[in-house]
């Protein structure tokens, strides 16, 4: 018998199908519905912003990768970071801003700490926060969504519903929830949302922010499109429910209990559903907080992390003076991730409370 050339290696000799690149490209695919919706409602300029973000992220990754020895573009992580940066941009932003954000994300947030897997902060969020606090005005000037263009008063065109409500409450308009505030200011709703509203009893604004008919960043407006992508990732087992579910639920519950306080309406008056669909929460909970590298490794740790994100998001939204609740909360929890991983570890097989007690007694 002829002797074949045999490989000798450690077990196991089988492997599940998933690999780093397939995961990264799947997440990018999951972001496609939200990106496409953004391009549709905010026009082709959004596509340009997304393109600049992605290309600059990949360019910086390519240059830095070649400083070492090989290009790491194939793993898809730079494309994903660029896409997420772009989705976090206002559609009207000058093009040097997404370039700077992507460059900061890849160079400072990712590569200075050692590249893929070694960064402590989510690169895309770090990039966004960097340009937001550097260029706050262009970053928080929004455009009208196509679906509301005709009906929208100019005064409201450049504010997100969340930002608008916050400004109004800070300005002393008390006693109204966000829907009532929007309504009194003449914020329009689409015809579709109005008819769904009549059929279901939900506010038309809630429905519009669920569908994505509001002003905002390119990729964050449609909770529906993001949920489609999120469900795809859950079905593919690329993410688990632990972070998104605990994050969204803790924001919703905290908002319901305490969200009415700043506007003087008392406890248990906050708006449960709108809180989940507004701002960058859906994008953050499904795609940013779930970033593997910067979130805890165990399911127990992920639950703590999700609740922490939710708590800070609620706090910054209702009691903070700046926007950016979601980004800053996730970054804050990124910092706490190593600590969570250190102290919250899975229960070891066979380890019981009685056993640990016995061991403690034995030591004494």
């Amino acid at each position: 018998m002829n002797k074949p050339a045999l490989t000798v290696s450690s077990s196991p000799h089988l492997h599940a199908k998933a690999d780093t690149a397939s995961i990264m490209w799947s997440v990018s695919l999951a972001l496609a519905p939200a990106s496409l919706w953004g391009i549709y409602v905010f026009g082709l300029r959004s596509l340009l912003v997304l393109g600049v973000s992605i290309l600059s992220a990949m360019l910086v990754e390519y240059l830095l990768g070649n400083l070492g020895k090989e290009s790491t573009l194939w793993d898809g992580s730079a494309f994903l970071t660029g896409l997420l940066v772009g989705m976090n941009m206002s559609p009207s932003v000058p093009l040097f801003i997404p370039f700077l954000a992507s460059a900061f994300a890849i160079f400072v947030a990712k590569w200075t700490f050692g590249g893929l897997g070694a960064n402590w902060a989510n690169p895309a969020l770090a990039g966004r926060v960097f340009v937001f606090f550097s260029f706050t005005t262009p970053m928080s000037t929004y455009v009208r969504p196509r679906t509301l263009a005709a009906a929208m008063p100019d005064a409201l065109a450049s504010a997100t519903p969340l930002g608008f409500a916050k400004t109004a409450i800070a300005g002393g308009t008390l006693g109204m929830d966000s829907n009532a505030l929007l309504s009194s200011a003449g914020y329009p709703a689409t015809g579709l949302a109005q008819s769904i509203s009549q059929a279901t009893g939900f506010s038309a604004y809630t429905i519009d922010s669920f569908l994505g008919n509001v002003a905002g960043c390119i990729g964050e407006v449609s909770a529906l499109a993001l949920l489609i992508g999120g469900l795809y990732l859950l079905a593919r087992k690329i993410i688990t429910w632990h972070i998104p579910a605990t994050y969204l639920l803790s924001v919703a519950v905290l908002t319901w209990v305490f969200g009415g306080l700043p506007s003087g309406r008392g406890a248990f008056t906050g708006s449960f559903f709108p809180s989940m669909f507004s701002g960058g929460l859906m994008l953050g909970a499904l795609f940013m907080a779930t970033d593997y590298v910067t979130s805890p490794i165990s399911h127990k740790g992920q639950i703590v992390y999700g609740v922490g994100c939710g708590f800070f998001t609620f706090l910054f939204r209702y009691f903070g003076s700046m926007p950016e609740a979601v980004s800053v909360s996730i970054l804050l929890m990124n910092v706490l991730t190593p600590t969570i991983d250190r102290y919250i570890v899975p229960r070891k097989f066979g380890d019981t409370r009685e056993l640990r007690k016995k061991q403690k007694e034995a030591k004494v």
């Binding site: 290696s9 077990s11 196991p12 000799h13 893929l116 897997g117 490794i297 899975p346 070891k348």
Partner: protein, 436 residues
Amino acid sequence: MQKVPTFSKGGVHPDDKKVFSRSQSIERLPMPGELLVALSQHLGAPAKALKAKGDTVIRGEKIGEAAGFISADVHSPVSGTIKEIRKVTLANSVVCDAYVIIPDEVQPELSGNAEDWRSLSSSDLLARIKDLGIVGMGGATFPAHVKFSIPKDKKVEAFVVNGVECEPYLTADYRIMLEKGEEALEGAMIGAKVIGAERIIVGVELNKPDAIEHLRNLIAQKGYPIEVMGLKMKYPQGDEKQLLKATINREIPSGKLPLDVGAVVANIGTCNAIYEAVVLGKSLYERVISVTGECIANPKNVLAPVGTKVSDLLAFCGGFKSEPEKLVSGGPMMGFSFFDVETPITKGSSGLLALEPQKKVRQTACLNCGRCVAACPIGLMPAKLYRYITHGEYEMAMQTSLMDCKECGCCSFVCPAHLPLVHTMKTGKKLGRKKK
């Protein structure tokens, strides 16, 4: 609907790939021209050689004597002449002495006079199990007489027979259940008597429904007090820790044995060997091995003498259909890959796999995705251990329960970065022990 039992923590679901050999009846291998009978076929100290070059041996005769508490006797699988004693490298990289035996043309038949074991005391039964060289046949090859010697202060509530065969590809235990079910169940009854177990459970995964049904019918016919439990498919259910969790819902703490939770686990193949030893007086010198994998021309379940060279098994199964990337002894999750087709099989060889080339995937840095943590059936954090070991922090790794890792392969299997996690754990254990 009642919930199908399985273990709760971690585990993975590889494709079972048993299709190649599952419908092949057990076939006896024609006598090879030469056998390489190793003296280290069990966990523990190698046996001491009792024969020398030029001696003749008889089939079933003791040729190696247990040397130490954890060790087992070795018996000649054939009648023949010892050509020489030389060093061999086994598939698991153990290097030990082995007899090179040239079999005679004519082999004696087994006397095969069945004896009523029920009249024997449990210490007599245990002596037989020891004298006839029975070891655990699932792969770990732990000497059976050591496992079945129950200290006076311990009580065995459950004897759990392992018919799980959770490793993909392997079908040897499955065929034993179908073709030698009666013998194996009687072996389980003998085992239960030896250890004084109150309850006997056979755990079988649900991908073998015909085996479950067959065993249940046999039990009903014989009126044995044995329960067959169908378990939900999940790897590594065949590990005794996971099997006890699935069947009797008890967890063995770190560093403890099944006996500490009142149970003893034995493989279904071991039960068959116990039957043959006690009832037929046959020592453990042959076993059923699945020769399978994508690259084998005619996959089979072969009854082969211990010491058969892999090349003889391959020839019996038609050789390679296509060029394999790896030859593996045992299952694909925990088995050992080896490079020499002259390697002999041992008492613990449950499978011989010729695996096709795998898709080449580039390794990346750890993403901290947590799949290894979710998959670990012991509740370890493989990614963390990997970091400690690759950074040379063996002490930290040992303190973080590295020694509890049983190298089941779940973490490496799921790792999207394709990190050699199990490989690193093995290395870390060796270096960590050395440092101490």
